[in-house]
């Protein structure tokens, strides 16, 4: 397999590494860059546990190859809080029990984050569409939807600037 040099901006910081062109972004993030918030639930894009934000879009990182990630700006949950201040999504998820076991939470948070980047006032249907690819086996999704809605409201009110670095 051919190794290639890959440059990414991860949570605002430029990174450079060598990886096999066919290695998944999921594995690069977890194994080479220490981003263990990125979870593997199926490895084939069925569950959404590995969702990260890549150039402003939510993607299943298990389906993205190293070569495709070259040059991209990537945000993971590790990049959501800014100087220890939680992002409104993180606060809402935490306060409203928008998870139980928590394994789906990072992917769910990143799908929601990408949604709010484009759609600051999402409708319920838009929220559902954004997390349609994120499976949660513990909750009924109700708390997730309400948490995203609450975070969107807080962001609009500007109570706190979004914690993530500029994407």
């Amino acid at each position: 397999m051919s190794e290639m040099r890959i440059r990414v901006t991860l949570n605002g910081a430029p990174m450079e590494l060598r990886a096999e062109a066919g290695k998944s972004l999921l594995r690069i993030l977890r194994e080479d860059l220490g981003m263990t918030s990125v979870k593997e639930g199926c490895g084939q894009g069925d569950c959404g546990a590995c969702v990260v934000v890549l150039d402003g879009e939510a993607v299943n990182s298990c389906l993205v190859l190293a070569a495709q990630a070259d040059g991209a700006e990537i945000i993971t949950v590790e990049g959501l809080a800014l100087q220890g201040v939680l992002h409104p999504l993180q606060r809402a998820f935490s306060e409203m029990w928008a998870f139980q076991c928590g394994f789906c939470a990072p992917g769910m948070l990143m799908s929601a984050y990408a949604l709010l980047l484009h759609t600051p006032s999402p409708t319920r249907d838009e929220i559902e569409e954004a997390i349609e690819g994120n499976l949660c086996r513990c909750t009924s999704y109700r708390a997730v939807i309400e948490a995203i809605d609450a975070a969107a409201g807080e962001q609009r009110r500007g109570g706190l600037a979004a914690g993530a670095p500029d994407a």
Partner: protein, 778 residues
């Protein structure tokens, strides 16, 4: 948002004798919420240890056969391959599963199901591990196997085991005069019900990281529901004393019963022992679905006799469960079904038979509900059938038969607290507008039919009489008044640690933030038994209260000495000393420091074993349950009679919780149970053909997405449970149980034909419409 009510129609909830609660009953964030939302919660595969080897298991190529050749010599010589183990390399016992440990860790003579492991590999990296698996030479001579449960029961059927009958057990529970009950019945109805194999589909597949520490102990990190039992099983296989094994439970990504059995912990430990290196085994999703235990598919024949007014006279139930080739807890699950299949009703006479049958199909075991959902599904469809037959409203037929406190059930137990039965039923009917449902459009379009259905269930708490059911817990107060809580009970997302922390805070009179739950670790925490059977809040909760008592007593004694006030007027609340409602200047931290100065310890262990003080009839079922929760759900569905598609429009879920410990978490359990129940009702079925599952992915095996879950209106009722901590009891499993029968009854209401087989797919709806009521199995 708190949908808590403490009053409802029916038996009114008893007056609360408890003093005002400060922490219990109040919303609190999960103890690990911050770590989860920041991505720092560490699950097993997130624990990076330098030099960790990749562990993989070689699984059988075919579900059933005789192993003719298993040659690992060439594979062992490959570069990067550190160790390959087969059955011959296991120094201890080559078997596992709890209750009846009859599954080999590594098969050596026969393979009996598709998930059988043949060899364990440890390699420097994934590529080397994959090459090793390829290079192992395997020859398994195919054998036909037994794949049909009824076939397996026939005399002369092919044997799954040469020396064991296919029908492992036939449990009979009988109470009252059944023949007479049917003889005096005005109506007798009999139906057959079928439920499928169901997959847990926890988001985190199984994993275990094993290594040796500097005391010669094997340390295993793994998501497990029963760390002390896992320790025991690892020790048996490695031939070590139990104290030479340490099991640590990091964050668990869902379990639902599927991590109650050991999965890859023992294999990882064997490889670590063989290599003296850390070894991580992770199952892929495909491996996970192929290997771990499933919810039992069950066939239930249910016969119900009743008087014209709907009152039950007798039931006769025969249930057959396909448990696969290995027993583990299989027979206990069928027994649990049998000991509850009469539902939350007064049944004067019952004969219940439950068969546990061995086949070469997937191994079945614990999954949220432990056999009860299958039985209650049948029971609740029977009740609706009875209501239809007699022209009585489904609500009315349930109320006329509903259990009350003091009633005896067919296991010989008298109900300690059955207020939740009618309480939940009436409240759910009220919330759903049950009486007014006929005023709403039944056919909003020519091809659509709307229907309402209800299901009312009973669920057990604890392992039952004469079954070990105990927990320890320990508490340590530091000099600043903060508290470590050590428990062997796992939190797999159900919120157990948050609930236990709340109970500790309540009992000690400290703020919740002062209590830290230590990661379960068999080296540190007392055995709490499995996080199963909806028992953790009750059993571990009581252990926590017992540990808190002496610490609180010491603190108050010191306070009494310092203030000169008598002990009986003093209390602790929110970390402050109080006397007859007044807050004094002393706080818990000061009292804790004073305790240390006086050399008085602030550590205590609590131990609790489930109590059954009531006399039990000697001829009654010996393992009967005495603690129950009740739940009623009402489903409203819209069925498209052209396509067979079912849309669940709404679910109303009312759950008896004894005493709610954490409203947000409890509602999450109820709603999450409904979501899983919707999957059970409409979507989920492992397709098994000749012992192979054909849908080994989350693309092929559908679990509910956000689009599949309708609005759920949930409410919790509080009927304090005797002996329970502040009256609280588990609700995580009971909330799943009514959903499928409520939906099935709603579909029957919509299309006029009951469908007695899960899941209720569009094809089955169309089939049912075609055959009509007359074509039903009698």
């Amino acid at each position: 948002m708190p949908l808590l009510v403490s009053s409802g129609a029916g038996d009114s909830p008893p007056e609360r004798p408890m003093p005002e609660l400060e922490v219990v009953g109040h919303p609190a964030a999960a103890v690990r919420a911050h770590e989860i939302v920041t991505g720092r919660a560490l699950y097993t595969r997130d624990l990076g240890i330098p030099g960790t080897l990749v562990g993989r298991l070689l699984y059988t190529p075919i579900p059933c056969g005789r192993i003719r050749r298993l040659d690992v010599r060439a594979a062992r010589r490959l570069p990067g391959v550190t160790a390959i183990l087969t059955a011959a390399d296991i120094s201890g016992e080559n078997s596992y599963l709890y209750s009846i440990p009859d599954q080999p860790l590594l098969a050596f003579d026969f393979v009996r199901f598709q998930g059988e492991a043949l060899a364990a590999v440890a390699a420097e990296n994934e590529e080397a591990a994959a090459r090793a698996l390829e290079a192992i030479e395997v020859e398994v001579e195919p054998l036909p196997g037994v794949h049909d449960v009824l076939e397996a029961m026939r005399p002369g059927a092919m044997q799954v085991w040469p020396d064991r009958p296919n029908v492992h057990s036939r449990l009979v529970i009988e109470r009252g005069k059944v023949d007479r009950g049917f003889a005096r019945a005005d109506v007798v109805i009999e139906n057959q019900y079928l439920t499928p194999w169901v997959e847990h589909a926890f988001l985190e597949t199984e994993a275990a990281l094993a290594m040796l520490d500097n005391t010669g102990t094997v340390v295993v990190y793994s998501p497990g529901q029963s760390p002390h039992r896992d320790r025991r099983q690892i020790a048996r296989a490695l031939g070590l004393p139990e104290v030479r094994v340490r099991v640590i439970t990091p964050a668990i990504g869902g379990a639902f019963g599927g991590k109650d059995e050991a999965h890859v912990q023992i294999h990882a430990a064997l490889l670590a022992q063989a290599t003296s290196r850390p070894v991580l085994i992770e199952r892929s999703r495909e491996e996970s679905i192929r290997t771990h235990v499933k919810r039992h598919p069950v066939q239930v024949r249910y016969r119900t006799g009743a008087l014209r007014d709907g009152r039950l006279t007798a039931i006769h139930v025969e249930a057959i469960g396909d448990t696969g080739p290995y027993l583990g807890a299989g027979a206990e699950i069928m027994a649990c079904l049998a000991a509850t299949v009469f539902g939350p009703y007064r049944v004067p006479a019952a004969r219940i038979e439950a068969c546990t049958v061995l086949t070469n199909n997937p191994v079945c075991g614990a999954m949220r509900g432990f056999g009860i959902p299958q039985g209650q599904f049948a029971c609740e469809l029977q009740m609706d059938d009875l209501a239809r037959r007699l022209g009585i409203d489904p609500l009315e037929v349930r109320l006329r038969n509903g259990l009350e406190t003091g009633d005896e059930i067919p296991t010989g137990v008298r109900m300690r607290q059955a207020g939740g039965m009618k309480g939940c039923l009436i409240e759910a009917a009220r919330m759903a507008g049950w009486d007014r449902r006929r005023e709403i459009e039944r056919a909003p379009a020519p091809h659509l039919r709307r229907g309402w259905g209800m299901a009312s269930i009973l669920f057990t708490v604890g392992m039952g009489r004469n079954v070990p059911d105990f927990a320890g817990a320990s508490l340590d107060m530091a000099l600043d008044g903060t508290v470590s809580l050590r428990t062997g009970a796992s939190d797999m997302g159900q919120g157990a640690h948050t609930a236990l922390a709340q109970l500790a805070a309540e009992a000690l009179g400290v703020p919740l933030e002062s209590v830290r739950v230590v990661v379960p670790d068999t080296d540190q925490a007392p055995n709490a038994g499995p996080a199963a059977a909806s028992r953790t809040t009750f059993v571990s909760g009581n252990a926590v209260l017992r540990a808190a008592e002496p610490i609180r007593h010491t603190l108050l004694q010191i306070a009494s000495e310092k203030t000169g006030l008598p002990l009986n007027v003093l209390g602790l609340r929110g970390g402050r000393l109080i006397a007859e409602g007044e807050t004094l200047s002393l706080n818990v931290a000061e009292l804790a420091r004073e305790a240390a100065l006086q050399s008085r310890g602030l550590h205590a262990d609590g131990f609790y074993a489930m109590e059954y003080p009531e006399p039990h009839p000697p001829d009654a079922y010996p393992y009967a349950y005495s603690v129950f929760t009740f739940a009623t759900q009402v489903a409203r569905v819209l069925v498209d009679v052209e396509t067979g598609q079912i849309k669940v429009e709404e679910i109303v879920a009312v759950q008896d919780a004894g005493q709610v410990v954490n409203p947000a978490a409890a509602l999450g359990q109820v709603e999450g149970g409904c979501a899983m129940g919707i999957g059970y009702a409409l979507l989920e079925e492992l397709i098994v053909h000749e012992g192979r599952t054909l849908n080994n992915s989350l693309e092929g095996y559908l679990v509910p997405t956000v689009r599949d879950v309708p609005p759920i209106r949930a409410r919790l009722l509080e009927y304090p449970e005797p002996f329970a901590p502040y009256g609280a009891k588990g609700i995580g499993e009971s909330s799943l149980t009514p959903t499928a029968p409520a939906i099935a009854n709603a579909v029957a209401d919509a299309i006029g034909v009951p469908i007695r087989r899960l899941p209720i797919t569009p094809e089955r709806v169309l089939e049912a419409l075609e055959r009509g009521e007359d074509g039903r199995v009698r």
